[in-house]
């Protein structure tokens, strides 16, 4: 269930981004609080610093490079995660949300029935096409990647990949009424060889 225990490339790279930001934030927090502590306890130690230095140093020189670097990294990462067309077209699975359940269907396999469990082929990217019947829901499988909202009248796509076969949990992340917390779902990633049989074989 944890985003810190990633099981796919998207969740892994976001977890890596988190850890970088976490250590960076920790260092910055320590710096600010240390400066505050020294200024309160030993003001003479910092008294010679001029007002301009505080503003330019703390307000500009310190945060600007960090923020710019972080923005560039996050933007590049975000580009990688996008469901871009082109290349080997990934499998497209429809996820339709309603109060309070998910239905998954597999249009690329003729006659495949829709399921309440999301079946994925392991080790390859999948585009999940998310739609909603009634109110806004949100599709989230924390170990595989970020979330995308299911909004009535809109179609959203998220690209996910489960590296290994296994069972993962998905949840509805947008408050959708009384049954909000019951709207979890199971995600099963299958070895590619078994995948088609699983889908086709569903009742």
């Amino acid at each position: 269930m944890s985003t810190l225990d990633p099981a796919g490339p998207s969740a892994s790279s976001i977890a890596a981004l988190w850890w970088v930001m976490f250590w960076g934030a920790l260092a910055l927090f320590a710096l600010v609080i240390a400066l505050l502590a020294v200024s309160l306890l030993r003001p003479s130690a910092l008294a010679s610093i001029k007002p301009g230095t505080w503003i330019v140093g703390g307000g500009l020189v310190l945060p600007v490079p960090i923020l710019v670097a972080l923005l560039v990294a996050a933007l590049l990462l975000g580009e990688q995660l996008l469901p871009k067309p082109g290349g080997a077209a990934p499998v497209r699975i429809d996820a339709h949300a309603s109060q309070w359940q998910w239905r998954f269907s597999y249009p690329f396999i003729p006659d495949a029935a829709s399921t309440s469990i999301l079946h994925l082929p392991a080790g390859e990217p999948v585009d999940v096409v998310v739609t909603a019947e009634d109110v806004i829901h949100s599709f989230w499988v924390p170990r595989l990647g970020g979330k995308i909202d299911a909004i009535p009248g809109h179609t959203n796509i998220i690209r996910l990949q489960a590296d290994k076969p296994g069972v993962y949990r998905g949840i509805c992340a947008e408050y959708c009424g009384e049954g909000h917390e019951t709207m979890g779902f199971e995600v099963r990633a299958h070895a590619p060889a078994d995948y088609a049989a699983t889908i086709g074989g569903q009742p």
């Binding site: 923005l71 933007l75 590049l76 975000g78």
Partner: protein
């Protein structure tokens, strides 16, 4: 009377206008199905105009303060700071134009 506050407000007002305009161009480009190259060109041009105009405003503000010499008011000096900050904000806010996908 509010004109006295303009030195302080002009830089970021331009930023806000550019923000609105570029967000609209981004949206309309996708809606009308412009070619990706034309779309990006329009966005880059828009951002360049925004930066150029605010730099122009800064130059005017600095020239004004120079000309006034001793007579400059607090508002003019603070206004230059605000415009510089706004130019930096303009550059950083619109930097994603050079690499982010416009329509997905």
């Amino acid at each position: 009377m509010i004109r006295h506050l303009w030195p302080l407000l002009i830089g970021f007002s331009l930023w806000a206008m550019a923000f609105t305009a570029l967000y609209t161009v981004q949206y309309l480009g996708c809606y009308l199905g412009w070619s990706p190259q034309a779309h990006r060109l329009a966005l880059v041009a828009g951002a360049a105009i925004a930066i150029a105009v605010s730099v122009g405003v800064l130059v005017v503000q600095i020239a004004y303060v120079r000309r006034l010499g001793q007579a400059t008011t607090f508002m003019h000096r603070v206004g230059i700071g605000a415009t510089v900050a706004a130019i930096a904000a303009t550059i950083i806010t619109f930097a994603p134009i050079v690499l982010a996908s416009a329509c997905i």
